[in-house]
C-alpha cells in the first residue's frame, strides 16, 4: 500500500498543478465570483465571506449586493473598481487564506469579512499589512478593537443589545421577557449579554433564558414551553431569521402568542421563499434595512437585485451595497487612484472615513458617520410586521 498512495498523491498534486496552471492561463474574471474587470486603472477591492457551507447565505448576499453597487459605481464613469469575492466557509483559517490569496491578486481595499469570527482573524492581518478594511456585517467589537484601519457598516452587537432593551422599556412592549439565543454563535451571545445587563438597569423583568446551538436548531418546543410557563408576554430573539422562522412556526403550533422582538438578523424572514408571512404578523425588530421600504433608493436596489438573482435582498445584501458606496465616496474624497499602494490608500481612507464632514446616505441608514474606533453611527429603525410587510413602529427613533 505504501507505494500505492504515493502515486495517488502525485496524481492529486498533478491535478492541483493543472488547476493552478489553468487559473493563471485563463481569464480570472469570467466566473461568478468576480465581476466587471476594467482593463485599466481599476481599484482592486477584495471581498471575503462564506459562499459555501451553513453560513453561505450571508456571504452570497453581501457579494451580490456589492456587485450591484460596483456596477452602478463603475457606470458613473469616474473611479473604477474591480471586485473579487472569495469564499471563507465562515472559518477563520479559510478566511485568512482567502485574504492572502486576495493579497496575491493585488487587493488594495478589503470589503470584509461578512461574519464575525473570521473577521477578527482577518482584521488582525489587514491591520498588520495596512490594508483599509470595511466590514459589511461582522458586528462584534473585537473586529474593530485596537485597529485604526477597520471600520464597520453594521451596528456593533452591544449597540443592538442596548438599543433593544431601551426600546422595549421605553415603549413598554412587555412586562415579562423571555430570551432565546444561540449560545454557539458570537453574534447572538454578544447581543444577549448586553441586553441582559441593560435590561437590569431598565427594570425589565427577564423570566426565562434558554439557548440552542446550530446543532440543535430544529426543535424549540422546550424553549417555548419554558417561556410560556414563565408567563412571558414578549420573547426577545437576538438570532438570525432561519431559527426565528422555526420558533414562530412552533409557537403557532402550540398556540402560544407572545410578542416577538428581533434584531437585524431577523430581517429576511418575510422574504424567505415559501414562508407563511402570517406567522410573522406582529413581530417587531430593530433593523437598519427593510426590503419593502418605499423609499426610492431601496425600491431601485430591490428591483435590480431581484432581476439579477431572482431573490429578495436581505440586510446583508444592503450592507454589501452600502460598503461599496462608502468606499467609493471615501476614495473620491481622499483622491485615491488605482496606482497607489494599499498602505497609502489605507492612511488616506482612514482620514476620509473619520473626517467630520464624511457622511453617507445608504440603504441601511441616512447620514451614516464613523468614529475613529471604526464604529458606525446610524439610527436603527423600529419595525413591526403588519400584513406581511414592515411598518415603522410608532415612537421609534
Amino acid at each position: 500500500m505504501r507505494t500505492t498512495r504515493f502515486r495517488i498523491l502525485s496524481l492529486v498534486l498533478a491535478l492541483g498543478l493543472f488547476v493552478l496552471a489553468g487559473c493563471s492561463a485563463g481569464p480570472t474574471s469570467t466566473t461568478a465570483g468576480t465581476t466587471t474587470a476594467k482593463p485599466a486603472a481599476a481599484i482592486k477591492i477584495g471581498g471575503i465571506g462564506p459562499l459555501t457551507g451553513g453560513a453561505a447565505v450571508y456571504g452570497s448576499s453581501v457579494a451580490n449586493g456589492a456587485k450591484i453597487a460596483l456596477e452602478e459605481v463603475n457606470a458613473l464613469g469616474g473611479l473604477q473598481f474591480e471586485l473579487k469575492f472569495e469564499d471563507d466557509e465562515h472559518d477563520a483559517e479559510k478566511s485568512v487564506n482567502a485574504y492572502n490569496s486576495l493579497k496575491d491578486w493585488g487587493m488594495q481595499i478589503l470589503c470584509g469579512t461578512v461574519t464575525t469570527t473570521p473577521g477578527i482573524a482577518v482584521s488582525a492581518e489587514s491591520f498588520k499589512d495596512r490594508i483599509f478594511t470595511l466590514t459589511p456585517s461582522a458586528s462584534s467589537t473585537s473586529v474593530i478593537e485596537g485597529k485604526d484601519n477597520v471600520f464597520q457598516m453594521c451596528f456593533t452587537d452591544p449597540n443592538q443589545g442596548i438599543a433593544s432593551a431601551q426600546y422595549i422599556a421605553e415603549n413598554k412592549l412587555g412586562s415579562k421577557i423571555a430570551i432565546i439565543y444561540n449560545n454557539a454563535d458570537a453574534y447572538s451571545t454578544g447581543i444577549y449579554e448586553k441586553f441582559i445587563s441593560e435590561a437590569a438597569g431598565k427594570n425589565l423583568q427577564v423570566v426565562s433564558t434558554t439557548t440552542f446551538t446550530d446543532d440543535t436548531a430544529n426543535d424549540f418546543n422546550v424553549q417555548l414551553t419554558a417561556a410560556k410557563n414563565a408567563g412571558a408576554d414578549l420573547i426577545f430573539l437576538p438570532i438570525y431569521y432561519q431559527p426565528a422562522s422555526l420558533i414562530l412556526t412552533q409557537a403557532d403550533a402550540m398556540s402560544y402568542e407572545p410578542k416577538f422582538f428581533g434584531v437585524d438578523g431577523m430581517d429576511g424572514i418575510l422574504t424567505m421563499e415559501n414562508f407563511n408571512t402570517d406567522l410573522a404578523e406582529g413581530v417587531m425588530l430593530l433593523t437598519p434595512f427593510a426590503a419593502d421600504a418605499t423609499e426610492a433608493r431601496t425600491v431601485a436596489f430591490v428591483a435590480k437585485y431581484q432581476a439579477a438573482y431572482n431573490e429578495v435582498p436581505n440586510q446583508f445584501a444592503a450592507d454589501g451595497y452600502d460598503c461599496i458606496y462608502a468606499i467609493y465616496e471615501a476614495c473620491k474624497k481622499a483622491g485615491i487612484t488605482a496606482d497607489m499602494d494599499a498602505a497609502a490608500i489605507c492612511d488616506k481612507m482612514i482620514a476620509a472615513f473619520t473626517a467630520a464632514d464624511f457622511n453617507i446616505d445608504g440603504l441601511t441608514g441616512e447620514n451614516m458617520t464613523w468614529a475613529a474606533t471604526g464604529e458606525v453611527a446610524k439610527a436603527p429603525k423600529g419595525m413591526v410586521i403588519e400584513d406581511g410587510a414592515y411598518v415603522g413602529m410608532q415612537g421609534g427613533n
Binding site: T52, T216, V222, Q223, Q242, S245, S255, M272, E273
Partner: protein, 293 residues
C-alpha cells in the same frame, strides 16, 4: 402537562432520527459500510418535495412520492458509481468516498437551489390536536411522524422476515460468500437495500422539513450525524435497535434540554451515549461480537 408535551416532541424528533437511522443501519448491516452521505440524501428528498409543492403546485402526497422516487434512484446511482467499485477495498476507503459523496451532494444542492434557506410547507395540513381543554397541543406533523415511523418499522420487519428479498438481505448480512454460493445475487441485494434506505431517507427528509420547516443545503448534515449516533446507540446493523435508538435519542435530547440545560444539551446526549456503550459495548440491541479462536 408540560411533561406530556415534551414527551410528544421527543417522540416526534426521535421518530425522525429512527427513520434516518434505519437507512444507516440497513446499509451497514448488508454492505458493512457507514454511508455518511445518507444525511444528504435526506436533504435532497426535502428539496424534491419542496420543488414539487412550492414550484410545481403538486399535492403534498405526490411530492412525497416524487421525493421517494428521486432519492431511490439517487441512492442506487451513488451505490453503483461510488461504492460498488470499492466492495473489496478497505472499509476506511469506502468511508472517505462516502464523505466525498456527502460533500458533492451538499455543494451540488448549493449550486442548484442557492444558499438562501427555503421555508418548507408541511405536507401534513391538518389542524393540531388539542387535549385537556387546550392545555396540551399536539401538532399533526408530530402525530403523523410518529405513526409513519411505527408503520415503517412494521413494514420493514415484514419485508425482512417474510419476503424473498428480505431473506436474501438477511443472508447477505450474515455471510456474503455463503449467500453467493446459495445463488443469491449479492450485488442486486445490496442495490435493493440502498434503494429502500434512500426511499426511507426521502420520507425522513419530508417529515424533518415538515416538523422543522427550514431547508438549506446543510439541512441533512446534523440529523445525519445524530441518526448515525442513534443507530450505534441501538446497535448498528439491528433494525429494532435503530428504532429504539432513534426514539431514545430524541427523548434524551428533548428531556435533557427541558430538565437539565439547554446550553449543554448536545453534551448531555453524547455523554449518555458513551455511558450506554460502556455498559452495553455493542449498543442496546447489538449482537455480541464473539471471536472464533
Amino acid at each position: 402537562m408540560t411533561f406530556l408535551s415534551y414527551l410528544v416532541s421527543g417522540l416526534s424528533l426521535g421518530s425522525i432520527y429512527a427513520i434516518i437511522a434505519l437507512g444507516y443501519t440497513m446499509v451497514y448491516g448488508i454492505a458493512k459500510m457507514l454511508n455518511f452521505a445518507h444525511g444528504d440524501v435526506i436533504m435532497i428528498g426535502g428539496y424534491m418535495s419542496f420543488v414539487a409543492t412550492a414550484h410545481l403546485g403538486w399535492p403534498p402526497l405526490a411530492s412525497v412520492l416524487l421525493a421517494m422516487l428521486v432519492c431511490t434512484v439517487l441512492g442506487v446511482v451513488i451505490e453503483q458509481l461510488a461504492y460498488k467499485p470499492l466492495r473489496a477495498a478497505p472499509s476506511l476507503a469506502v468511508l472517505i468516498t462516502a464523505i466525498g459523496v456527502s460533500y458533492f451532494l451538499q455543494n451540488a444542492a448549493l449550486l442548484i437551489w442557492s444558499s438562501n434557506p427555503k421555508s418548507f410547507t408541511s405536507v401534513v395540513r391538518l389542524p393540531s390536536l388539542k387535549l385537556f381543554d387546550g392545555q396540551l397541543t399536539i401538532s399533526s406533523v408530530a402525530l403523523v411522524t410518529i405513526l409513519a415511523c411505527v408503520a415503517i418499522i412494521i413494514g420493514l420487519t415484514f419485508i425482512i422476515s417474510k419476503t424473498k428479498i428480505g431473506k436474501a438481505m438477511r443472508a447477505v448480512s450474515e455471510d456474503k460468500a455463503a449467500a453467493q454460493l446459495m445463488g443469491i445475487n449479492v450485488n442486486q441485494t445490496i442495490s435493493v437495500t440502498f434503494a429502500i434506505g434512500s426511499a426511507l431517507a426521502a420520507i425522513a427528509g419530508v417529515l424533518l422539513c415538515s416538523a422543522y420547516p427550514i431547508l438549506m443545503p446543510t439541512t441533512g448534515a446534523m440529523p445525519g450525524i445524530k441518526a448515525f449516533t442513534a443507530a450505534v446507540f441501538g446497535g448498528i446493523g439491528s433494525i429494532p435497535g435503530a428504532f429504539w435508538g432513534g426514539l431514545l435519542l430524541g427523548l434524551i435530547e428533548i428531556f435533557g434540554k427541558a430538565y437539565i440545560s439547554t446550553q449543554l444539551s448536545d453534551a448531555i446526549v453524547f455523554s449518555i451515549l458513551i455511558l450506554v456503550l460502556l455498559v452495553r459495548p455493542t449498543g442496546l440491541m447489538g449482537r455480541k461480537i464473539s471471536e472464533k479462536v
